[in-house]
Symmetry: C2
Subunit: 139 residues, 2 copies
DNA sequence: ATTCATTTGAAACATTGTTTCATTTGATTG
DNA sequence: CAATCAAATGAAACAATGTTTCAAATGAAT
């Protein structure tokens, strides 16, 4: 599905920066940091617009944010199958060496039985450490 | 156990700012943000020293950081029982309304079977949303 | 083509965290 | 108890991330 189609489908206004943002994420196929997105967007990138787009596209259920770390946030496209009320269902692994963020699809987030009155709007299971690639390079 | 005892016990040099930091956290009994700690420490607070203390005390296993949000980190004393190689074993709930961070001791983090080569140094299960108190006030 | 609400981009601002370096402090030793 | 010296502190400059304001541009609809 093209970036343009995605915006249409979610009834979000089609603008140049939004299309460029989605395309950057589609081409990467892994979660990207703001800086990585900036590099891919070139002169189409603007800081304020980027943060506003993130807001809009998150609310629309097109993308989601992953807080890898207090100083490292990554952004990824949603799987279309997940539909509108999107909750990420798998864990993420953030390598403190190479700063790569892995989607660990094999680790599903457990069912969360919250105390009554608490509403889960979003949740993250983030594991931080050293990834396999960096580990083998250290040896 | 006094702040002074804790530092002795973990063989960390006893300094005025470190003692004040630990005392602030002991009195609060809930995880605090930097700003809340700053208020409690008064003139004993200094930004650079605070961040260095957080580093030192975390490495020593005296405190731990909880990344509630990309722009909200909370700090809490470790339970002494948990010993040295401390991994937080429960979920946290962060209310986007009141910014309170709840330790949900009833929700234990599942066992994490990482792919081989990946090392879990720390992990967080953070749930974000609206807490019971804020929910009842909204009605 | 015209309209008009929405979005954009630039700049100023706020907050969080790090680094540098001269000064101070707190354990240790005599 | 005084001297020592590595370790820690505090102040300031810096870097990165995120927000707000407002005039100008744009895209969807008629």
């Amino acid at each position: 599905m093209t970036a343009s189609d995605i915006l249409d489908h979610h009834q979000v206004k089609k603008t140049t920066p939004r299309v460029a943002l989605i395309q950057a994420m589609q081409e990467a196929r892994v979660p990207l940091s703001e800086n990585e997105i900036k590099e891919r967007m070139g002169e189409l990138y603007d800081r304020a617009t980027f943060y506003r787009s993130v807001q809009t596209l998150s609310s629309a259920g097109i993308i989601h944010r992953i807080v890898a770390d207090n100083v490292m946030v990554k952004y990824a496209l949603n799987n279309c199958e997940n539909g509108h009320h999107h909750q990420v269902d798998h864990a993420h692994f953030f390598c403190r060496q190479c700063h790569h963020l892995y989607c660990l699809k094999s680790i599903k987030v457990q069912t969360l039985d919250l105390p009554s009155g608490f509403v889960d709007e979003e949740h993250d299971l983030v594991i931080r450490g050293i990834c396999d690639q960096c580990n083998s390079q250290l040896k």
